[in-house]
């Protein structure tokens, strides 16, 4: 059958992109890896080694580029000159040939930049189980090295060249005094491991240490890329790199300035979930710990019943509440309060009388809020999830491997 695709949302371009950050140049070229002929090799280069923290998929079948980038980051002590990316092919489940290919991509860039190979990271995204067409990749890298530039258009070409099934480009940025924070990402809901899945690059020019970057990255991820929950289905290639060219003095609140950029990017990924019509932000508070709060949010976000109710604008408190009830180890579930778009729908073990038509109308929004308030402690969590629509089934049932 054929389900009409939902309208593609239009977001204004961000005021800043990766190349807005002092010290960065970028490129995006058409290497012919994608059958579509769209750009598929991207390169990000810093004038001098950047401080970098990376978050990588924990999947046991992590792709060759993930394993290599992890190794390089450790060997270089978190110093990175360049990141090379290809789309259209994830170089995952490709055996020892895949490992050799990932290394060759780094070596080619390192040789041109005259830097140690461990200062080059590599990311791949696209189909899995297929070897990279290395002739095309090599030519693409060479072209990207030649064409790289620090203008805004080059930053946008980088973004184009990392996209796969994305319905729209995803970028975000802000400037605070001298400091610039900007990022781009690709991904459609973290829900398509056969087109392995999420890559995010967030950069700044504030002068912070690698250690500070690593600590900030964990916290920032917890409310952004680690807070996008569609299934437990993290893919073989998921990568988030936080980078700094360290050119301007770091303001005291640099981390608070970076976090919204990352969170916006993550929201855009959820918004682009296959067939998604909205993003629902689930906020859990009053849990006995942050971990329990996160478990509750994840249970709710993982439920097909919850996500179809969100799609159908159905204020179906029973589905939300019963999923909370499935989380182990709650001390006082009978004190749960549930609010949907600010409307209380459940309290003290029974539904709160509410206007269903008004609640359903309130759910017809791009941004939906679901609050779950417990009374067991100060643990809280935030997760963003897309809804589950006919279109999701179509995209995923009729995708031919």
């Amino acid at each position: 059958m054929s389900i009409p695709a939902p309208p593609v949302p239009v977001f204004p371009p961000a005021p800043y992109t990766l190349t807005s950050v002092t010290g960065l140049s970028a490129a995006g070229v058409k290497a012919g890896i994608k059958a579509s002929g769209n750009p598929d090799v991207a390169l990000l280069v810093a004038d001098a080694p950047m401080a970098c923290a990376g978050l990588f998929t924990q999947n046991h079948f992590a792709a060759a580029p993930v394993l290599l980038s992890r190794k390089h980051l450790a060997a270089s002590g978190g110093l990175v000159r360049a990141v090379v990316v290809n789309s259209g092919n994830a170089n995952a489940c490709t055996g020892t040939q895949g490992e050799a290919d990932a290394l060759e991509m780094c070596t080619r860039v390192a040789t041109a930049l005259k830097c140690p190979v461990e200062q080059v990271l590599v990311c791949s995204t696209g189909v899995i189980g297929v070897k990279l067409p290395m002739d095309k990749v090599r030519a693409g890298i060479d072209a990207a090295l030649t064409q790289r530039s620090s203008d805004v258009e080059a930053g946008r070409r980088f973004l184009s060249a990392i996209m796969t099934t994305d319905a729209f480009p995803k970028e975000a940025g802000a400037r605070h005094g001298e400091a610039t924070m900007a990022g781009v990402c690709k991904g459609a809901g973290m829900i398509q491991p056969d087109m392995a899945t999420m890559l995010a690059f967030v950069a700044t020019d504030v002068d912070v240490s690698v250690d500070a970057m690593r600590a900030a990255m964990r916290r920032i991820a917890s409310t952004s890329f680690n807070a996008v929950h569609v299934d437990t289905h993290t893919s073989t290639n998921d990568t988030f790199l936080l980078l700094s060219t360290r050119r301007v003095p770091a303001p005291a609140d640099w981390e608070q300035q970076l976090e919204p950029v990352a969170r916006r990017l993550a929201w855009l990924i959820a918004r682009d979930g296959e067939g998604a019509t909205k993003v629902t932000t689930i906020r859990v508070s009053g849990a006995s710990s942050d971990a329990v709060a996160r478990d509750i949010a994840a249970h709710v976000a993982a439920s097909g019943l919850v996500r179809t109710a969100l799609f159908g604008n159905d204020p179906n408190w029973g589905r939300f509440v019963s999923q909370v009830g499935n989380v182990k180890g709650l001390a006082a579930p009978q004190r749960l309060v549930c609010r949907l778009q600010g409307i209380e729908v459940f309290r003290a073990g029974e539904p709160t009388p509410f206007d269903r038509a008004a609640a359903s109308k309130a759910m017809k929004a791009e941004d939906v809020s679901l609050e779950l308030l417990l009374d067991e402690g100060v643990g809280h969590a935030l997760l963003m999830t897309s809804d589950l629509s006919y279109r999701y089934v179509e995209v995923n049932a009729e995708y031919t491997t």
Copy 2:
């Protein structure tokens, strides 16, 4: 939109139903709880106390009848004279009034049968958050007490009166020498907590102790009702009762005779998953423990990507394998072998070359087999899951609470 419902599968009636078991009588009557006018009060009575083991939902919002039945089973030492059931209303999230109503249902039956109230169990299924219409329930119980009979038709009426959204009745039975094993259940994939969800009653006449019954119940559930996995969404009312009238000598292999009856009933529930077109049995072997094997099977069964691929007859090895890769603590994931309908699709970290068209054709079956073979130990698990179709989204998005 309107998705054509898949054809309702037709299964031949089982040769035996609950009343085929020596010592049991049953009834099913129309009490008017359901707006449809369908039967909605059911009663099962034994001539003398039965040995009973019960498995109940672990949901924190367990309904009043669940809490009361648990209490009665403990107080009676596992001896049960009768089970009273209503459908159309789950008596869940109904506060103290709900507790009083559940107790009154038991008391009414106990008074008529002149047995201790704790020898009567109660189950409810249907909408949640709405108080029971007790006038109708009382009249229904009285009618059921009057009409109960040990003929086959009475057993079938019991089954009719426990159904809610079921597309077809679910019963199974077998006879081994003098011993009869028979059961009925209701439920559509355990995936609809707002119509809370699964009730199963499996009875035999073999003479076993309550303790033996309890031990057997846990094992039998692990390959039947606890092996139906659609989400983590267990509902407020899920109940499985294993009962014995203890009239005939127990053969040595009585548990092995009971298990297939329970497993068939569980399979029928998965088959009736909303919009389901097939049941996929996931078998994990070679895991480091049964618990890890179960975790792997649950990860795979929980994935929307896996379940849409099953619906689309897509031999999408990447989706199955990457979900295994998300399970924590695997020692040797690189030795994973994956087989779909007996066709090897993945081995040693790379896809096995296979005929995709043939594999897709093989997946167009009522029963699909997905095998995940590890090489880390002797842990194994079995889970049955339904597929995720357009119809699932329709049923769940357009269901109006």
